[in-house]
Amino acid sequence: MSSSDASSLDRLVDELNAGRLGRRDFLMGAAKLGLSASLAGAIAAAGRQGAGASPNGGRSPVSARLQNGGKTLVVAFPQSTTQLDPGLAGNSGYGDIIPVNENLYEGLTRYKNGTAEIEPALAESWAISKDGLTWVFTIRSGVTFHDGTPLDAKAVETVFNRQLDPNSPLYSSQFGYASIVFAEFASVKATGNLELTVTLKRPITLVAANLAVFAATIPSPTALTTYKNDYSSHAAGTGPFKLDHWTKDVELVYVANDKYWGGRPKLDRVVWQTIATDSLRLSSLQQGSIDVANQLDLKDVGTVSKDSALQLIAGDFWNVQFLAFNQSIAPFDKPEVRQAVEHAINKQNIADAVFYGQYTLGAGPVAPGLLAYDPTLANVYPHDPAKAKSLLSAAGVSKVSFDLYNRTTATWPLIGQLIQADLADVGITANLVSLEDAQFFPQLATGKSAAFLNDWTWDNGDPDNILNALYVGERAKSRLGYANQQVADMITAAEIEPDQNKRKAVYLQVQQQLLADSVSVFLGYPKRALGAAKKVQGLVLSPIGNIVLREVSVS
């Protein structure tokens, strides 16, 4: 069979599958191509069967009927949810609960979908005392958990205190986010049926933003107490969807919460599937066996936007990638060497070769869309290999060689190789040490890495989140060999500054100082892209990485 015959056969098969061609006509067409009757018959039979569950529109009467029985949305993501207790949120310390969390649980506050703006959720409102040390939250009335128990101030107190109060019967030291979401909390008390009073040690202004983080969302205290370690199989929140069933790493199924205080969601069921391989996730979307593919490989953005059956949902993601130096380890004890590396790295090349343009070039540590993001900071260290070389010779160093620790996942190996090549061009040898996550993070914690590639994903949408975590105190000292008291003071002071404009000015100054001290090369900010079938409506990209389905419908 020639290639034109092969494509004719393809077309015939497509027509058959689409139901535009009868079996008899198909066999006739195939015979014209010289196919034997038995082979054509086999193809026709298999094709028919295939159309049965073929997603492109549920052509088979069976699947069409069943799909009309309930509006189901199938979402696939690369990671897997390992833990349905938002306080414990499992694997890789992070992300895996984020996409699914806000559909099951809610916090006192939440992000207005798709933005960094905070809006009320389980708290109807809150009042802050003059000294900023007391926050009084009014809990939304008439809300019940999925297990039928009512939400009141006492429930919130119990849930918060399990992460804060060692005397709580539900306390465990495994809540890795307690120090972030409840930063500076002195006490939490139910001071009325629907009144919760939080007192602070320092009047930080970030409380509302911190309480919107997944780890501060509120599971049913009754379910937590009843099921203890087995809670995840009986998870109960207040969100628009309830847990139906869950098989770890495979499939998590939610059903609509008919009693949701914000109105019943438009979807009946949501199936979260784990498909780790990017290409399979995309193929599944194209084939129609899933409706939404989270975290598209950015090279596939073009493919999705050109596909008439699909839609691309892309935008900023609160994430920054960087190459961090340890200033207490040679050769990076010399500022000129750090600056030489800053000038040697071609960020545009990373944006083009690794992220296919879906990347904002690095400026400071604060990502686009956040307070005090300043694109002009990208001009501090422009790509300039000649300058890098002259900085090295000015510093009197000839042979610079160091170990660059890197991760083996996602695009890190590629980024590492590009940086290695850029550095080689100016005479710096970077020995790439690639570690899987299980070894990479312990390596960082040792404080003995001369340089490493890593990123930061925002927990709360505030510049303080990265600045305070990475550039202040013990961690900055051990990992980066960095201790600048002036920077630390500015960051600490900004936490209690109520005026956002003043905070912005401080954070700009902090970023300039961090660049002047060349603590890290801020490589850039990857964008995030979802692919979805056209029939999915109302899905918005969230820069924090969650997928909020309360407004989503399928036509």
Binding site: G47, G50, L88, N229, V250, L280, A438, F441, A445, G447
Partner: protein, 335 residues
């Protein structure tokens, strides 16, 4: 017979302890820290130390191992670091998927292998014999990840005939994935789900069947050829029996015993979880669970899963040996 079984079970104990020790040592030798994985970007020396303590990782290794063993003896394999769920629950939830896939693969493999091997033995040095030899060579040498991906590209992506991954279309509104989907659908006469599940299992099962099909074909051919050279075959022919009866009743049944061993062992291997195939097809079985657990340094799940798989393998071996006695009255265990 009972004494034999008891002895075999007693012998299995050191085997299983050995397996658990090797897994424990290898896991810890691989490096990495589950506490650091859980803390991720927030890991600092203080939080790391307190998390390690909360997870019991700051105890001496010997204590950790003996603790695991002490609980394992009572059937308690501990709890997953990642999900907090009991390991037995996690593993058992995955077993049905692996069992269904293993049975489907061994059925395909045995059918293809037995038929091809028999024809090749009867028509020695014919074109079919050479073709089946070549096919068997392909079967053992094509890596499953490659075959799986090629099948997906051909039948799922190009032709749209078969689904890409998973066990069934969740939009059919069916049962939880920790069940026997095919058996379940059959019992409840849910034909749409039954058909859908068969379509899902076909590609991974065919991918997995390549190796056992090849081994079984070669084994059947060799064993049958040996049987055909026996005196009793000549006698049967001399009696004037038809060739069908000679091969089918006299030679084939005698040739089947070693083949049965191979089928049993291959089934044991498949039940051990086909890590690569399960990953390629996102098939939610034990193999994928184990691979994920290793990547996350979920020591408890890895140890527990491997130990349970060891039990299954040892048990299956015993069953195969016992099946000998049933098939061949000359074999007697015991005294």
């Amino acid at each position: 017979m009972v004494g034999y079984i008891a002895r075999r079970i007693a012998l299995a104990v050191p085997v299983l302890v050995g397996i658990s020790l090797i897994v424990f040592v290898m896991l810890h030798a691989a490096g990495g820290d589950p506490a650091a994985i859980r803390l991720g970007q927030h890991a600092d020396p203080v939080s790391l130390a307190s998390m390690r303590h909360a997870m019991g990782l700051d105890r001496p290794l010997a204590v950790q191992y003996l603790d695991f063993l002490r609980h394992a003896v009572t059937g308690d394999l501990g709890r997953s670091y990642r999900s907090n769920a009991p390991v037995t629950t996690d593993v058992m939830a995955r077993f049905p998927a692996t069992i269904e896939l293993a049975i489907a693969a061994i059925l395909i493999g045995a059918a293809v292998g037995l038929i091809a091997g028999t024809i090749a033995a009867v028509r020695r040095r014919s074109w079919f014999d050479y073709a089946s030899t070549f096919g068997a060579l392909l079967g053992v040498s094509i890596p499953t990840f490659w075959l799986g991906i090629i099948l997906i590209i051909a039948f799922s992506i190009r032709l749209h005939w078969l689904p890409i991954s998973g066990r069934y279309d969740p939009r059919l509104g069916v049962s939880p994935s920790d069940h026997f989907v095919i058996a379940d659908a059959l019992v409840h006469r849910n034909w749409p789900v039954f058909k859908d599940a068969l379509r899902h299992i076909l590609l991974p099962a065919v991918t997995l069947a390549g190796w056992p099909a090849a081994i079984i074909a070669r084994m059947t051919r060799a064993s049958l050829m040996e049987a055909m050279d026996q005196d009793y075959i000549r006698t049967a022919r001399a009696k004037g029996l038809r060739e069908r009866v000679v091969v089918g009743r006299h030679a084939f049944r005698n040739a089947l015993i070693p083949v049965l061993t191979v089928i049993g062992l291959e089934l044991g291997g498949l039940l051990g979880g086909a890590v690569v195939t399960e990953t390629v097809f996102a098939w939610p079985g034990v193999g994928k669970l184990t691979a994920d657990a290793i990547a996350a340094r979920d020591y408890q799940v890895t140890q527990g899963a491997v130990l349970l798989l060891g039990v299954v393998f040892v048990g299956l071996n015993l069953l195969v040996d016992l099946a000998y006695a049933v098939l061949d009255p000359r074999i007697r265990y015991g005294s």
